[in-house]
Amino acid sequence: MTLISMKSTIAAAALIASVGTTWADKANDTLSVAFTKELENVDSYFNSSREGVVMQRAVWDGLIYRDPVTNEYKGNLATSWEWIDDTTLELKLREGVKFHNGEDFNADDVVFTVNFVAKEENGVKTQRNVNWMKSAEKVDDYTVRILLKDKFPAAIEFLSGPVSMYPNEYYAEVGPSGMGLKPVGTGPYKVTEVVPGQHFVLEKYENYHDSPKGQPSIGKIDIRTVPDVNTQLAELFSGTLDLIWQVPADQAEKMAAMDGFTVANESTMRVGYLSMDAAGRSSMEPNPFKDAKVRQAVNHAIDRKALVDNLLKGKSVVVNTPCFPSQFGCVTDAAVAYEYDPEKAKALLAEAGYADGFTTEFYAYRDREYAEAIASYLNAVGIRTDFKMLQYSALRDLNMKGEVPLAFLTWGSYSINDASAMVSQFFKHGSLDDARDDQAKADLDIADSSTDPAIRKEHYAKAIARITGEAFWAPMFSYNTNYVFKTDVDYTPTADEVLRFTNMAWK
């Protein structure tokens, strides 16, 4: 949107002119943070936004915790866990933990939470987070068993991510809407105020258990919804906000040049890619994308390094895999990497019978400037694009119907550090699968259901080799995000785009 970019340039220029004196809220121990979007419900099972994940990690705890730096799994509300068989996980629970409302945490809470969220009719928003669990059983007060519907190797990852434990008595009484207005968890911060659409106030939970998340340091977190990035920057200058995130690269660069602010850049799990109609589902006739040479030509045509260096910047990297490199099973060595070589691209097109190139519809739903840059690379080798920008839901509908020959898409894997959250979502003949390749599906089926890490890795590697060899996609790059905060805030962001208040402190 040119309006937005014009707006941001003007604002940045205007803001640069003013020298902000920092009016930190260190004195009253309150950190003010901005969210861009409004949460539909604070109850973490009933929202699907990143802001919701931030709240979830602060207010609630999972049974297991994954260290965001080392990716090592540690006990949180559970102290140990063991697979009894392929579909039964037994966990020992931590004793002496209390919810914010004083309720004791024990096996009843786990059984209640799992049985509630696993039931489809209770309507948990992101079903894939919970629909692998069948139910839970109490063994004794501090031992539970979680029963799975089927083999599900990513169970530990999910238990350390989106599945958090709720107080059974309270939740049975108030339900999701009550939990949304007055959330109660065991997490490092308790919610003291919710004004829907305007702000949330979190306070340090003094009785927080000895958790691998660490102990909270800052006393109070005030989260306000401020939709406009320029307004957020103005609030930061005037001293009424201390930390903002998801700041566009151009603004972050200008902020970095100023005194009083720290700009931290971190990678996110989001990967941008081109999807091509290799299965020939679209009405395009003839469909050049059915030919692997054409798909390889597309891969060779785009200078991804230049895109990363000039447009995405920060910690973004060129990605060759149909998954995010840190994900378990995302074996980068197995992927065929296509270097930027427009001459080779033209030669491949000629071999496929398109010496004069061809014209195709090209869709995107976000980051118009990236999509346009990609289109110009494609045009340069003779692939003429009829570029169409759509809303996400509209493009997804078209895609499900198989009417999209070429699209620039992205996938964030819901921050799940397992390849099944990305590659398996798109290459197992689902409605968004443009390749419909039996060989890739066969390997993914094995990898997704085996509980042996070595077997999983081997078959993900095979699937990745097949997908990249056939060039069903053209993987592009990973995304990054900028965090801007006052210099008296001590914080090191993690690579999963989750703000962790517990790891923040005053300098």
Partner: protein
Amino acid sequence: MLQFILRRLGLALLVAFTVSFISFSLLFLAGDPAAALAGETASGEDIEAIRRVYGFDRPMLVQYGDWLFAALRGDFGESYYFKLPVASLIADRLSVTMLLGVCGITFALLTAVPLGVLAAMRPNSIIDRIALFLSVAGQALPSFWFGLILIVLFAIQLRWLPVSGTATWAHFVMPTIVLGYYAMPAIMRLTRAGMLEVLSSDYIRTARAKGASELRVMFRHALRNAIIPVVSLAAVQMGFMLGGSIVVESIFALHGAGFLAWESISRNDLPTVQALILIFSMFYIVFTFLADVLNAWLDPRMRSS
């Protein structure tokens, strides 16, 4: 007079009815509502089930009838996004938008009418030039830019006003100016033109000849007649402000109905969008109707037209 009011009322109801039908059909123009509701992981059966549960499989006119009768009782259904009744969602936010609209139009009238009168008293004088400059600027400045300039000046440099939010009256000062300034030029130009026309008419000469003071001539005789078109313009502008404060609400983080409309469109939250379009249109219709009645009351000539 009564006949005039009844005629206008009939017309307003007809427009309201048409608008309600259009805003209802939006649901279907935007694609398959069941697929939109079902989300990305849904299978064909899921979508079919949703279609039955929500009654999307019934004839459109039947659905419209149900929706209209529910809407008349204040029931706009449930928001797809918040899973809360749309009526309470909107009620929460409408007060901010209404307050902002009232402040905005008051600001516009309080600045535009005196400026217009002054400009008309001394056409082509320096005052008239300044007024012209202000109105051209008001029409040309995009409100997001003007808003940011005000923020930089008053919130960052001078630190007189808070940047954004709704906590105190001070939070409403800048949004009021930005919203009001947009409506000001038209009102001012219309006041000036009306005043110029009226001032050259016979009865003003008569009033002056009778020895009435200049102030009395201006406000008692001239303005009262010149203000008539301004009244209807202000009413229409008021309708615009209630529905069109989207940009201002977003810049100043006001969380009113305009911002809710913007967000709901991008979230495909159709019941909320439908209800907001209907409510915003109702504002236009009601304000236009009130303007007509007010005009007729102020100017008897209008009643027969």
